[in-house]
Symmetry: C2
Subunit: 500 residues, 2 copies
Amino acid sequence: MTLNEAREKLMALQVKLAAYNHALGILYYDGATTAPKGTAANRAQTMGVLSEEVYTLTTGDETVALLEFLDAHRDALDEKERRQVELLLKDIRRMQKIPMEEYVAFQRLTTESYDVWHTAKETSDFALMEPYYEKIFAMNRKFAQYCAPEKDPYDYWLNEFEEGLDRARCDAFFDTLRAHIVPLLRAVQQKPQLSDEILHGSFPAAAQAELARRVMSVMRLDPAHVGLGETEHPFTTSLGSHLDERITTRYVAEDFSSSLFSVIHEGGHALYDTGSDDALAYTALDGGVSMGIHESQSRFYENLLGRSRAFCEYLFPVLREVFPEQLAGRTAEEFYRAVNRAQPSLIRTEADELTYCLHVLIRYELEKRIMAGELAVHDLPREWNRLYKEYLGVDVPDDRRGVLQDSHWAGGSVGYFPSYALGSAYGAQFLRRMRESVDVDGCLRRGDFAPINAWNREHIWQYGCLYRPGELFRRAVGEEFDPTVFTSYLEEKYSALYGL
Amino acid sequence: MTLNEAREKLMALQVKLAAYNHALGILYYDGATTAPKGTAANRAQTMGVLSEEVYTLTTGDETVALLEFLDAHRDALDEKERRQVELLLKDIRRMQKIPMEEYVAFQRLTTESYDVWHTAKETSDFALMEPYYEKIFAMNRKFAQYCAPEKDPYDYWLNEFEEGLDRARCDAFFDTLRAHIVPLLRAVQQKPQLSDEILHGSFPAAAQAELARRVMSVMRLDPAHVGLGETEHPFTTSLGSHLDERITTRYVAEDFSSSLFSVIHEGGHALYDTGSDDALAYTALDGGVSMGIHESQSRFYENLLGRSRAFCEYLFPVLREVFPEQLAGRTAEEFYRAVNRAQPSLIRTEADELTYCLHVLIRYELEKRIMAGELAVHDLPREWNRLYKEYLGVDVPDDRRGVLQDSHWAGGSVGYFPSYALGSAYGAQFLRRMRESVDVDGCLRRGDFAPINAWNREHIWQYGCLYRPGELFRRAVGEEFDPTVFTSYLEEKYSALYGL
């Protein structure tokens, strides 16, 4: 095999993997959006077969020989090829360590489990999910031990979602957040509360969908490549390449801000993915590099931009056009204060910017304890409810609004949650740096996202997975990660809002 | 390899093929329903890769050896296994004769072409489609020559869609139809015309969707396994097995009968597919056996049942509930006469039962001549328009309502159209036989499809592809195919309607 032949084979391999990921992605998307209710087993069967094909392709002798050959000649490769080989080899080394039957069984399990979760949540029936969670946590532990027997299993998964992360760093990070957010929240709660009355009323789904389309357009999401669907739990997915992206939302009839901010959040994910350099399409470098960086973008658009005074001033006249009767006599300032009301609550995805990280912290603590064998799945609801009372002071009335609210565990992901809080903190540092060259507030006030998107594209999006998250971060902001930039931002914003 | 090992491998092979078909099917469905406009190239790339995988799997040495081994031991197999081996070997023999690059290129071509067709139809731009049609007809000719060099290429494709069919039989069949339908239509046209005014007005899509759901429920389509989507051109597709079926429709705001009858038509296809014995799932025998039998079911529900006086009497009160203002003061008899008005028109899918087969005849003649090299693709619009004038007496105002109206050629299918007319004729014979044991009109008047569906399931659906179409037909009706049963049915129905 000559080096050039190997290079061509590397590209062909990646194109094939992209096709399988496209197929698996669209099957998942179909299941979450339009598939008839009784078709999950059929879909799980197909996804199982395709996962098996991916497994065989990835761990096959030919693939391994190709990548080892390329790795041995890494000095002759360009930067992109080197990183492609590195990422693919990392996947292979992991897959080689997981027996195929277990790998495929896990795909089937999570497809089925995700489906059952819909019913369990609807009926607030934790017992229905318990056996699935049992198996999913057990298999996550097992896979971690296969792949990195020297590591703590939860450390393994934290590092999978965010290269470089482990419990020690995560503990330190959350300690910083807690040390600043808990007293800030306490101070806020001693002040007269902001009203969010303006957000409540009756908002027909069709009008909310129209608002979603307008917001996506303001964010400069390309409608030729980014679709919008409806699901119980909003998400974003790339299909085959960054050229086909789907985001979803959920329309809550009595509160338009739920869908509005979920669209901005998922729209941030979609901007990041679709912002990959076109030359990365169908390669292992296409799309976002880590969950932390991904959430830094989604929460950047949702909160740092979306809940800013400048953007609220721009958006309010649009809202008045879409909901003329519901918002008659209201002001932009009322809207700004409503979407920034700090209010300990039950649902993470609808939490305000200040209390949000406490929701994440609870999930982090629970995951960590289950993975360490210190907490049984059976006791999850009790512990969930206890921590919500302790950190947020709220009583959880049922599991639907408690431990069953998120789809992550049902979908097989353990170790994902910390990314949300990390991403929030990354974003504050990105914003501080961006402000040095972009008049962010001016742009937001005009609804002109072009200069903001251009900065993100130049410093983050275009690279896809070329750099590791830590390196990408340092290149973009020119300094180390410092969560106090985020907590200072919160302190400043909420002090002004609440007159502390 | 022992026989039992081979049997297990046969099942595993079929399960794998079903999974790929599921993936290809959902990619197609996504493209036709919800995918953003600019994603076709991305999807074509993925479908190309997956088609290549199917090709490699199907024609690989291991598969060929397995099937030849089983074929050599066919006497030891049960009836189902024998037919599975026969069908799979037939596919392999065909694929082995088509070079892989050309097979994959054809998949890519038709994915792209189907996408371009949407734009071409919208803008009535035949020139846009011309190069695609050129290539598609050329590749159909070429593939036929690869597969059956001794056969006329169009005969090859007719037989692919309906085993046993060729131009000679098709000519004879259409001659019979023409000999009865043309004079009948002439006689009808000399009488005062029926009014279809009742069908026209303003019918919101949401209400039409509600009607679609109610009609699907009356037909006893299982909502847990049959979904409804919206597309430019209605279609039905099975995903992975008969346990996940999707039908689509199109809502025309000014005429509710368009969507109503397309739903009943596609619902007939879906009943047939989902009626396969569950033991056939994931095998080569799952779902309908041929396009002719498939259309016999869709057109059976659409016309023989759907446009019968008995069903119209049942349906009218439902229509009144869904469209109370639009249908105020109307009667079931008016509705019955409106949906049976014989009126030469432009659009096949919206044609009445009497003129419908003339639309099919035109397509048959055009395909036959193009495949024989007697007609150039470039001249298709001119010839289309000339034949519409000759057979139906209508002037085609633009290609959107002319040669660009159907998606079949754009999707790569040549030789499909005759199935529609064949199916109509098969259905009339099924109905005559069914009436011997089922009080069809009584059932329809009560909206009780259970006994009708039970007859179809017993005699047709349950078998999937176990019997060849001709054998299935003879087993069900106990006699040979006779198109005059259909023409007599038309003569009787239209004589009564028009007082001939």
